[in-house]
Symmetry: C2
Amino acid sequence: MSEPGLACCTPLSGTAMSAEQAEQVAPLLKALADPVRLRLVSLIASSASGEACVCDLNDAFDLTQATISHHLKVLHSAGILDRDKRGVWVYYAVRPAALTAVATLFSTAVPA
Amino acid sequence: MSEPGLACCTPLSGTAMSAEQAEQVAPLLKALADPVRLRLVSLIASSASGEACVCDLNDAFDLTQATISHHLKVLHSAGILDRDKRGVWVYYAVRPAALTAVATLFSTAVPA
DNA sequence: ACAGGACATCGACGGACGTCGATGTGTGAA
DNA sequence: TTCACACATCGACGTCCGTCGATGTCCTGT
């Protein structure tokens, strides 16, 4: 780490994101930072009923059912998807609060 | 992959995100899906002049200068940060288009 | 009770990621 | 020219991630 001998530029004024806040938001972004999971969320969100069962999601990808189940588990654990077992089938729905949280984060981050 | 023998639910109507679009947006989110990089962007964005030099950013973390330089390179390669070498020091600035792209992505993804 | 289907879990594999110490590169001052 | 400094790059290490095949669990007909 460099010593604070001389000031070369502005001292980063204003209230930036705290370390705790960053550690809290990063997992949410990490869950979305995957092409497959991004398409999964998009597919579910663009569905007419706002939800989708795993059987349809499986057919939309050239991936194993185990892999899709894994991705859905990641999205569910991150609080992005709601899980609802109805009989034999399992329906996933997008939790709007999670996505709007990300949207507001980046819309308020840049004041321009 | 399951055979489309019987329709169990809605066929995922509406225009969802394409595979190419997902492959294009995912790296941008992956670059932001890290607590350190999130704080870096936040620090630069909340700076009074809208930019920050690496020397100040180094002091804000308990990490090696090599690690900070690596994170800045990732953010720069993803098109999130602009790099401007001015004499001995290097200044990084947030590219607003990248952040607003993410914001609009998630604000339009959920129609509610 | 039994069989079959829908989905989750497990264990394993290859590759990518975050971090570090060491070294390289370019700039300004003495 | 020589030195010190700011920053980038390199090589290496441990860990996490995406994907798979195999297996387990739960539900529903028959």
